[in-house]
Symmetry: C2
Subunit: 478 residues, 2 copies
């Protein structure tokens, strides 16, 4: 038995060694696939890498040539460090970090020079003690400041370079005039490196954090809208052409049904982008004081929507067999509600993207609210005599979640309207106004329902009352 | 009119100047309040700041003294930079960044030396061109690697220092032996700075990322449990003593009802901590290969729970007036379900914290599942004859959400059981086993319900069937 085990072990080791080239090959293939994906997904990332390479080699060669080297000496290396740390993907991040870096360096240089001077006045024995105390205090205080959430998010690099520069200058064992010269060199190299970054970042294929944030928020709304559309199609088994879909037929693309998951955890990326968007000067359609806070609010409510969708998703697997009359009518209205909501979100997303405002999203909001109203009145007038509550629980939950989503969408629409007013969105009158609801929504056919005519009558009844309310509502809203 | 305007403007300016000391005072007071809060909330943050101050002043003074200075020259400054960048709050982060920093420096030094040697062989004209090409390529490639999400999360500092060191060494205009000496100095100062950080971080009041992660996951479960308890008390207006609560009475502490909001966006902090926990050696109750992935999974499902709670929270404002018989019974069972779930979460949280496993959480899970079963059978046997569907929709949604929460909690309990098996939790037999449900749950009194005796009979009926299932279930589970 033992020899068998040893044999197996040997085979295992040999097998692993033989498999090594394969594993390495797979790793390499995996990395190259990832590289291609990233490059294809956003070619600006490749351009960014080339920009960084360019600025670092520029600054390095500047250091390489002897005349310049003699002027700056080893301090010239600081230009390279500055470029490496400061140069970021977006203009806002580069500007923010550059400003941080410069302010941190200048402040620390001034303080460090003061500390050095004070310590050198106090005599040979007290000098190292005083310097030690200064460095200790400054380092401890600045490390503590890094725990403040706002300071960490905005000024982290500034604080880091502050500590480095301060201890560098206060500790240096030179005489005052030498220290001054060193400070001068240190500051000029920093300024050279920093301004090289900022110039290249702004003037060669700039990537603006504000623009990224703007499109990411618009994308979020479209993703949520697509989800609601896909949900309606999946849940009610209706194909895009509005026909009742066979259960065995191709189901909706699963990736659309999982898109909202990216929205769930988008808070940190929103905050990251807005932090840098605030540093950016006006560019293109965005002014310096663009109302980024409104975008943050839209982002927050779209996350609320995504939470509801996460809950909603649990009800996708619910089966529609054995529908009762009431359930069938509720489903019809839910389908309409989700399709209207989906249209609102998609249109708001595209109107943010293009910065044009069409009135049709408002009409869709009004439509969705009308459906909510008629749904509520339907529910109020019905009681489930023919069906048990357990088989109603899923559809009731779905209804309630969809109603909540409509409320959130109304809030989003209000915020986008505010945004349109403040930033003067172009008003688009040419867009075709939405058709009346009844013809527009794909008709949901309760195939399993026993009494078809009765069911249709009920739907028509509800539709009529709906349209009646719709007219009066529209006159208030428009 | 104009002079009035000018007067007003003057007054405005004067007013602002007069208000300046007040504004500054308020700012200062705000900052000192925040400082006190952070220091009180986690005194280890103060200790960390002192540790950083200590190590930087140690390394600085090491540079200050002439004999050492003569050995290392300006390179000694790298020790300070290393400490500032590498020293982080947790041991894992410090170790990870230290390793990154060291590997990045060594790798870049070797490559840089090679590039320098190669370029110097190629003659005076080709040298700067070759060096420029090398630096450009390395810088562009490494900048692109920073877009890989995994590389960014784990090796960002390593990549940064790689570019800096590489261009520093390949560019330097010295002869080969001088470069070798410089590389030697650079590496020794880095190692000195890095090991100072790691030593101080591990041996003086260490803060372990793994421990932080462990407790943060346990805390999350407790927060969610507290929420469910508070939800039950708030929704069913029952005080902690199990009595029906007056609407005007003190409501549950609002902060508990909003605690779950911190769980919603905890994904990034979870991933941040687990990244560093993986670098840490065994410490205390945690071995080197502690199953951190299980914690990540528990964290993910607790976020799912939090999403449900966010949806649930919308139903808090629902009023309990005019309850019907069915609704009253459903509410009774929902109350039990949420209290049992809350107990499961609280116990799982505390059993992770203390790393002891008591069987009572399993019993509570079984109880919650029994309540779900009896709730489902109650719903199956009921239809709403006396009440319209609209007034049922909120309670039905709540029921459905609570049922979903029970499912998630079951998954969490399974994961915690796995964790307990793998990491050998201490088994606690002394804990009092939970009392039978009927006496334990605060009795929900449907004060407004018309027919009290009928209602009670129904509850007792359900309770009996519940207990019957409970016994058989327990025998399977235990």
């Amino acid at each position: 038995m033992e020899s068998q085990n040893t044999n197996q072990e040997k085979e295992g080791v040999v097998g692993r060694v033989l498999a090594l080239p394969k594993v390495v090959k797979e790793k390499v293939l995996g990395i190259s696939r990832l590289t291609k994906e990233i490059a294809k997904d956003d070619p600006r990332k490749v351009i960014h890498s080339i920009k960084v390479g360019l600025s670092i080699s520029m600054v390095s060669l500047f250091y390489y040539y002897q005349p310049l080297y003699e002027n700056f000496g080893l301090s010239a290396m600081w230009a390279v460090i500055t470029v490496v740390v400061v140069f970021d993907y977006t203009v806002g991040a580069t500007l923010g970090q550059g400003l941080n870096w410069t302010v941190g360096t200048f402040g620390a240089a001034a303080l460090g020079f003061g500390a050095h001077h004070l310590a050198s006045l106090s005599g040979a024995t007290a000098e190292p003690i005083l310097i030690g105390v200064f460095v200790f205090m400054l380092a401890a205080i600045t490390s503590f400041i890094r725990f403040f959430p706002k300071a960490k998010a905005r000024y982290d690099y500034g604080i880091l370079i502050f500590i480095v520069t301060f201890s560098f200058i206060s500790v240096s064992g030179f005489r005052d005039n030498e220290v001054l010269e060193m400070v001068h060199k240190r500051l000029s190299t920093t300024v050279i490196g920093g301004s090289a970054c900022v110039m290249i970042s702004i003037f060669i294929c700039p990537v603006w954090a504000g623009e990224e944030f703007h499109y990411s928020i618009a994308n979020k709304l479209e993703i949520l809208g697509d989800y609601l559309e896909a949900f309606a199609h999946e849940y009610f088994k209706i194909s895009k052409e509005g026909e009742f879909k066979d259960n065995k037929g191709d189901s909706t693309d699963k990736s659309v049904l999982e898109g909202y998951k990216n929205v769930l955890n988008s808070k940190s990326s929103d905050e990251y982008l807005v932090n840098f968007a605030r540093w950016e000067p006006g560019h293109g359609k965005f002014k310096f004081r663009h109302p980024w806070d409104l975008y943050l609010q839209i982002g927050a409510i779209s996350r609320e929507c995504a939470y509801q969708m996460e809950t909603l998703n649990a009800h996708l697997s619910f089966d529609v067999q054995g529908s009762s009359k009431i359930r069938c009518t509720i489903q019809e209205l839910c389908l309409e509600m989700s399709l209207e909501s989906s249209k609102v979100l998609q249109e708001l997303g595209s109107s943010i993207k293009t910065m044009t405002m069409s009135s049709s999203s408002n009409t869709h909001v009004a439509n969705a609210k009308v459906v909510v109203k008629s749904l509520k009145s339907l529910l109020q007038s019905s009681s489930s005599k023919e069906i048990d509550l357990l088989s109603l629980i899923s559809i009731m939950t779905m209804t309630s979640l969809l109603i909540d989503i409509v409320e959130f969408i109304e809030k989003i629409a209000d915020l986008v309207n505010d945004l349109a007013t403040i930033t003067h969105f172009h008003i688009d009158d040419t867009s075709k106004s939405p058709k009346p609801k009844s013809s527009q929504s794909p008709h949901y056919d309760c195939a399993e329902s026993g009494n078809k005519t009765n069911n249709l009558q009920l739907i028509i009844l509800v539709e009529e009352s709906t349209l009646a309310v719709s007219e009066s509502e529209k006159s208030i809203i428009v």
